[in-house]
């Protein structure tokens, strides 16, 4: 198939999808709309983590931390003055923050930028080193963000969290962002910079010997990933309307990690597929946690069971399905129409 035809096909598919979203936003019940929103947000987060872990070979576990930064920035920028002051009844809010206000789009972008700055500060010292230190340092960073946010009461309201964040995240925002992130990453990864990232993943020493500045490119990948995760966190905060520091801990990062690994480390379309599937499965699994009546027997709900299934799945994927659904391949129109196995990106 010719590449212009493929591009047209892709544009048509995206338009069709937005027609569906238009219908869904109006006709589906709030619960289903929420799941669709979560799908988009999880796609964004999974891609953010896949950029570092799958495409650049940097094993980062900082997603939850960056999400926290993004969620708080956006929340503080979008909450009205009255609601902010109501939230901070224990320790008053910093007066400058109380006055701050921005439209949602600006809040999202600022959430990304602040998260990038934090990512840069964490990444700069740690990315100079090889190996798994990055995993521990970024995981620790995520945990520490939650400690810091609990202690900075005039900014974050501490352990009480923020309530009444305006629910601006509707399907157009979440999916609009997701589509931009998908296309943006595809374009980045198909460019010379993307090849440099992949070269670093394949063989750091050889990449450096080919003249690639490791530190610059790692930091670039890490910062872009932080940017995307920050926006993802912001969308999440403005969807669920209540956030607190304990939400953004390791457990959240591990969930995103499973989606990355399941979809295939180094596959954008794999991440999209696995994030969508896992979001739905996670919702279905809620059934396990609530009491069930099977007619002849009634089972008590087991709170926490969802996460047990989830973590067992993570081990299983690592053990038996190392390459995930897509490996490093991408879904393409050629694949759909049966013209040869999935070749490089084309969507």
């Amino acid at each position: 198939m010719k590449s212009t035809a493929k591009i047209l096909l892709s544009i048509a598919a995206i338009l069709l999808f937005f027609v569906f979203l238009y219908w869904a936003q109006k006709n589906l019940d709030p619960y289903k709309v929420r799941i669709l929103n979560l799908c988009a947000i999880n796609i964004i987060l999974t891609l953010s983590l896949n950029l570092t872990n799958g495409f650049t070979g940097l094993f980062s576990l900082g997603t939850a931390g960056f999400m926290a930064v993004g969620a708080y920035v956006s929340a503080l920028l979008t909450m009205p003055y009255d609601i902010k002051t109501m939230n901070f009844f224990m320790v008053p809010i910093n007066p400058v923050l109380a006055e701050l206000h921005a439209p949602f789009i600006a809040a999202l972008i600022l959430a990304g930028i602040v998260s990038t700055v934090v990512g840069f500060l964490i990444g700069a010292p740690v990315l100079k080193l090889k190996g798994d230190y990055l995993a521990i340092a970024t995981l620790g960073f995520g945990e520490i963000i939650s400690v810091v946010f609990t202690n900075t009461q005039t900014i974050t309201n501490g352990a009480l969290g923020l309530k009444g964040i305006p629910q601006y995240t509707i399907l157009y925002w979440s999916w609009g962002t997701a589509v931009i992130v998908i296309i943006g990453l595809m374009m980045l990864l198909n460019s010379s910079y993307g090849r440099a990232f992949k070269a670093i993943r394949e063989d750091e020493t050889a990449a450096q010997a080919m003249g690639i500045n490791l530190f610059y490119h790692k930091l670039l990948s890490f910062s872009i990933s932080a940017f995307i995760a920050g926006i993802g966190g912001a969308l999440l905060g403005n969807l669920i309307s209540t956030i607190d520091p304990t939400m953004f801990r390791f457990s959240l990062t591990y969930q995103i990690l499973l989606m990355v690994v399941l979809g295939g480390m180094g596959s954008i379309t794999g991440s999209v597929i696995s994030a969508s599937i896992m979001t739905v499965i996670m919702e279905l699994l809620r059934a396990v946690e609530s009491p069930m009546n099977l007619g002849f027997i009634s089972l008590p709900g087991i709170p926490g069971m969802r996460m047990v299934v989830f973590s067992a799945l993570l081990i299983a994927v690592a053990l038996f399905m190392r390459r995930g659904i897509m490996g490093e391949k991408e879904f393409s129109w050629d694949m759909l129409f049966g013209k040869g196995a999935g070749r490089r990106e084309s969507a």
Partner: protein, 297 residues
């Protein structure tokens, strides 16, 4: 600050540090041989504490028997984890085994929440650990002295085993070069398994004493000590046993003294270790006692 008060903090720091040291050993030994950050090591601590809790509460064992039972059981769990989740991936890319380790850790935490319940439980502490000892003007709880004594005895024992027994020699050989060790006829699988067992047993002792020191059990109590002890191992020089002990004491003492001298920062207590980690990675990435290893190109 009076000298007495300082002494009190100091003893407290030593006691926390010796717990960190016990747990850090497991990280460093495993990393030294299989080059894996055993994410599940922190959760092993939690399991050990719960084993004692149930041994005493459910099976009415005497306290010491429950502790002994817990140490053995925890060692077996550690070895079981290695067999089930790490061994099949030994020749796989490093990233797969790391993911598996994260999965195991996450599994143990969630399994704990489902089986043990998410609500904190009170850990039973025998009277012998709670006696108040007076040294002049300083009064300390006996536990504060017993912990370092047990820990240091075990650490010395471990150093003896590693340096003076055939198994210890095999362990050292494996951590130098696992392929050559295999060629020399060392049963590498057995040594790795033993390393996990030994590391887990020490972590179990650490976990039980952790429960005595902070008698609130919860399925997630292992995470923070786990992360900090890994940092302790890095600070001392990963793969280096005396280094892990040194790192443990530095972190424990540092944390307690930080809170003692700067009470305003007590909320950031858990962040201290990570600041140390970043600093050590920046200025001495091989750790205090670690040797510089040139990467083979």
């Amino acid at each position: 600050m009076t000298f007495e008060l300082f002494l009190q903090h100091f003893i407290n720091g030593i006691s926390l540090g010796s717990l960190y040291a016990l747990i850090a050993i497991g990280y460093t030994m495993v990393y030294g041989i299989v080059r894996l950050i055993n994410f599940a090591h922190g959760d092993i601590i939690m399991l050990a504490a719960y084993f004692v809790f149930f041994g005493v509460g459910l099976f009415h064992m005497p306290w010491w028997l429950a502790a002994l039972f817990s140490i053995v059981l925890t060692a077996l769990v550690g070895m079981g984890i290695e067999k089930a989740a790490y061994k099949p991936l030994r020749d796989a890319p490093r990233i797969s085994i790391l993911i598996s380790a994260i999965g195991v850790s996450f599994f143990l935490e969630n399994f704990g929440i489902v089986v043990f319940g998410g609500r904190p439980q009170a850990f039973y502490s025998p009277e012998v650990f709670q006696r108040v000892i007076k040294l002049g003007n300083v009064s300390i709880i006996s536990l504060g002295i017993i912990i370092p004594i047990i820990a240091i005895t075990l650490l010395l024992g471990l150093v003896y085993v590693v340096n003076n027994t055939r198994t210890g020699m095999a362990m050292r050989a494996c951590s130098k070069d696992i392929d050559t060790a295999k060629l020399m006829g060392i049963d590498v699988d057995r040594i790795i398994s033993l390393t996990f067992g030994l590391g887990s047993a020490l972590a179990a002792v650490g976990g039980i004493m952790w429960g005595l020191k902070y008698p609130q059990l919860h399925p997630l109590i292992g995470i923070m000590p786990g992360l900090k002890c890994f940092i302790a191992a890095v600070v001392g020089g990963i793969g280096n046993i005396p280094g892990a002990m040194l790192g443990g004491f530095i972190l424990g003492l540092g944390e307690i003294l930080l809170v003692a001298f700067l009470p305003g920062l007590s909320g950031y207590r858990d962040a201290f270790a990570f600041v140390i980690l970043i600093l050590i990675l920046l200025f001495r990435p091989t750790g205090i006692l670690g040797e510089k290893v040139a990467e083979k190109v």
